[in-house]
């Protein structure tokens, strides 16, 4: 119960801040509403939305109506409930259409996922806050995967997080502050994690051996779009027990060289 309250309240405070500082607060409210509707498993009523996000109902109503007009939200006149509308797909298409990384990474991900029977992800790193899955490849049934494009994770979690810490030059204080907020199945101490980050910096790729999800091994290698800032990573996810022996080193090699090839292609032009 305490947990369920915690989430909305943190949300509230962040939203309140964004609304206050912004010269276009309606947009922060709209974004919060869209994200809430995106997370929800069912359509939501005005009151529920307003309460969850700490918005004034009437204001919330005006924002929702504007979003309905723009076809980002659908409104069921019978039940008076709101949900996401297909218009959001059009935006996603616009993004995918001219994203070099997804175009270049997809065949690479496909190849590695088939060769090693692992799930492969391409992630886009957005600041120190989040990474977003922008490409997926799974051996076998690939239906479920495409639905995972768009997933958001905290920046410092799992193997990709160690890459971000290793190659993203952020202050130790900031890293530690954010590290504390992470949720792992088997949390490493900050010291252990720092050692792993150092190793990542030395070897050029990161491994998460069951910390994030018990029994699941994650390998990640960084991809640069410009020398200045780490922007992407490619990630392999496999059952830990299936990556014993020489398989894991081979996968690491494949990932590292693929990441280097991608970096060169992206930096080139």
């Amino acid at each position: 119960m305490a947990d369920r309250l915690k989430q909305p309240l943190t949300q509230d405070r962040q939203l309140a801040k964004a609304v206050k500082d912004s010269k276009a607060p309606a947009i922060s409210r709209a974004a919060a509403i869209l994200r809430l509707l995106g997370k929800s498993d069912t359509p939501l009523g005005l009151q529920t939305i307003a309460r969850t996000l700490g918005l004034v109902p009437s204001t919330c109503l005006y924002v929702l109506r504007a979003l309905v007009v723009e076809e980002f939200v659908s409104f069921d006149a019978d039940t008076k409930r709101y949900s996401l509308e297909a218009g959001v797909l059009t935006l996603a298409r616009g993004w995918l259409r001219r994203n070099e990384f997804t175009d270049l990474a997809q065949p690479v991900l496909d190849r590695i996922s088939q060769a090693f029977d692992v799930t492969m992800l391409g992630t886009h790193i957005v600041g120190l806050d989040h990474m977003i899955v922008v490409a997926v490849s799974q051996s076998g049934n690939n239906f479920q995967l495409s639905a995972q494009i768009g997933s958001r994770f905290p920046a410092l979690i799992s193997a990709t997080g160690r890459c971000i810490a290793a190659f993203g030059d952020h202050s130790e204080a900031e890293l530690q502050a954010r590290f504390k907020t992470l949720r792992w199945d088997e949390p490493p101490t900050f010291g252990e994690w720092q050692a792993q980050v150092s190793q990542t910096r030395a070897q050029g790729f990161a491994v998460d051996a069951g910390n994030y999800i018990s029994g699941v091994t994650v390998v990640a290698a960084p991809v640069w779009k410009s020398r200045a800032k780490l922007s992407h990573a490619i990630v392999a996810i496999g059952i830990g027990s299936a990556l014993k022996g020489k398989k894991l080193p081979a996968l690491q090699d494949a990932l590292l060289s693929a990441a280097q090839v991608l970096s060169n292609q992206l930096c080139g032009d």
Copy 2:
């Protein structure tokens, strides 16, 4: 040149109207900006965006900054240019995650596309304005397809348009007004089109034999989520010359029965 001016101006006027009527005009502006960035092949500067959409530069700047904070737009500090950010994918994921139609339609589309060697689409019908492609299946290389999810078309175009006209009970005056704005490779007259719409109503599916795109045959069948309002369609697209003889009738049958099965499944619960 006249053509290039025409588009922005119509855009302007619609946007101006939306802004004026709305109690949250910032959201209309934000939506227009996002759509513009989605269409653009390159990142855009503030001035370009403001001019194209008829916005005041300072207002436009504030909206853009809010969108950057929300991770829907990325800002390159060096070039001062804006483009879509991966955050829009997260919204799309939210939509896809709990959309019954895509879940149910995908295997059906896959089956028919393979059986007849055609491209199959699932479309979502948004009022009389647009339809949006929400599921795609192509025989063979299916990489290119996923990028087309999110494509928007005018509601009355091609075979799906005839379905919307046939089963959507809209006034003839409105249909004619919208019909005039359509662009076809080989435009039918309004009379011819009306006859085809009648036939569509009679036989339960629509055919576009090269009108929309020369040499390409499109077949569409309507799918209902509720008895009240036509909400979706499944669409087959193939080379006209490859659909000669008995193949086209067989495809029509397959599409019609698949659409009926889907309608029953969606209405059920």
